[in-house]
């Protein structure tokens, strides 16, 4: 297993076509250490989320190279991208839960992507994850009946339930109160120590900055500061 599950080289990204074509990411070079917790910061529109989705194989790479878990994403066939996505846990900015599914069922979706398994075991794992995030009494609620913070925690549970090798999180604590936010980040940190889970997190939340191993600041699509602590 490599020591750097995320390697970015000379990455550029553009939005729009023709006259409206606008560069969002400029020549990013980045190497993220295994088991670390990295925070991406920067004003809105600085390209944080774009960079995160490029790393997460959710956007086609236009120029440059992203090597994720030893696989080059640039020009990779769809089947490889699908396989790689299964090894990631993505926590979205909007919680993006499925409205028709209960909290448990939403979390189960994070497990079922790996194929058929023992249904009872999968259920137990999903319940355990929800319990850890303080949602034991909300297991059978649909998203419409959950608060913003509860939904965000279900989304965290869904991303973490399958023990991903990399967690990519876009403002995971924005909707959470201080205590829950702290719980989530602690969880990611301890996963890093015990399982070597690598986390890259976009956040504006000053409360969790001191918990990071590394803080990278983006401005106008370029890295302006990169501090390890």
């Amino acid at each position: 297993m490599t020591d750097s599950p995320i390697e970015v080289r000379g990455l550029n990204h553009f939005f729009g076509t023709g006259e409206a074509r606008k560069q969002a990411i400029f020549d990013i070079n980045l190497s993220i250490a295994r088991g670390s917790l990295t925070i991406l910061m920067g004003p809105s529109g600085s390209g944080k989320t774009t960079l995160l989705t490029l790393i997460g194989a959710l956007r086609e790479i236009q120029d440059g190279s992203v090597v994720l878990l030893d696989h080059e994403l640039h020009g990779a066939p769809e089947a490889d991208l699908v396989a790689l996505r299964r090894r990631l846990g993505f926590i979205f900015q909007a919680h993006n839960l499925h409205e028709s599914l209960t909290a448990t069922q939403n979390v189960l979706m994070g497990l079922e992507v790996h194929g058929k398994g023992n249904a009872a075991k999968q259920r137990a794992a999903s319940h355990h994850m929800l319990d850890l995030l303080g949602l034991a009494d909300r297991r059978e609620y649909v998203p419409a009946n959950l608060s913003g913070g509860q939904k965000q925690r279900v989304a965290v549970a869904r991303a973490l339930v399958s023990n991903p090798e990399i967690v990519l999180a876009d403002e995971p604590t924005a909707a959470l109160d201080k205590a829950s936010g702290h719980t989530v980040v602690e969880m990611l940190k301890s996963l890093g120590k015990t399982r070597g889970t690598t986390t890259v997190m976009v956040t504006h939340d000053p409360r969790i900055l001191q918990m990071a191993d590394r803080i990278i600041t983006l401005e106008d699509g370029r890295i302006v500061t990169d501090k390890s602590q």
Binding site: L58, V82, R86, N96, E99, E112, V113
Partner: protein, 391 residues
Amino acid sequence: MSRLLTLLFGRLPIGWLQLSHNRGRLLAAVSGVAFANLLVFMQLGIMGALNGSTVAPYALLNTDIILSSQEGNTLTDSEHIARVHMFQALGVSGVANATPLYIGDLPFTLDDGTSVALLTFGVDATQTGFVTSAVAASLDRLTIENTVLLDEDTRGMPAPVLESLSSGASYSFEAMGETLTAIGTMKVGGGFLADGMLVTSDQTFLRVFPTRDSGAPDHILLRIDDGVSADTVATRLRAALPSASVRVQTTQDAKSADLAFMSSERPTGIIFGFGVFMGILVGLVIVYQVLSTDVADHLREYATFKAMGYGQSFFLGIVFEEAIVLAVFGFIPGFFVSMGLYAGLVAVTGLPVSMEASRAILVFLGTLAACTLSGGIATRRLASADPADLF
């Protein structure tokens, strides 16, 4: 339901959960599919009624081979054939018996002023083998001058008259200057050509239709010997009879030819065929709209699944699951409402509109195919997009 499906699929039944989550949307989608079904059922029902009324008169006959004039079109739209061919046919090996069939349209006016047109069959009243057993039982009574059997499903006939006839009374009426007495009934029903049928003896027929000649019936009906195939005898007859004037058809072939003629050569058939085509087309559009709207409504959620590592086959699975649910739930009301409308059409028009099992199965399978295909097309948009662009 959800547990059962989970066991069945080995995964959460997302399609079903998605559909059942929003009852209003489910109802709208099911109504759409049901309406598409209804459209197709109605068009097929009317088409079927045309076909049914085309072959209905055959139900009175018990014949293996029919000789007709080459000039004629169908059983009831025929030209005359020389009776001499009957004697020629009797000389052909395999032909057991033969009889002439005379056909005419008998218009008359009821006491209440209703005009009724009856398709009239004149048959040899001594030849019981050429008609169905129900008619054969009353055939000897038709040897009495001016007696007839009346169709108990005749459109426009007062119900009391038909009821009294069935219970053994007789009913006399004036038609073409003759007083005819109905002494019994048989059951065929009205169609696109006439309001009902009448069976009488050839003697009475020739009296009522004085311009007709006993030497020139409409058809010659043949029975063949046991153990010989109708096709074989038909081939021999074609060799023995002048092909320029005589058409030789087995009863089965004659029915098929009549159906083909009515649906492709007559405006009614072409119009109804076009109606079926339009019904299917509109039905397809409705079903596609329902499925593609559903996919569009859930695009965000699908994008999330795609970002989590679910592949295209998973989304097709969801959409096919929805397609099956919608096809089944839409078909049930569509089927029953169509049955109701069929009954209404029968009551109003007297046409033989009925639900056939084969038609129901065909429409259901068609719905299933249309739903599945629409769902498959609707998910294509998902296949080509980056998940991040869909949030």
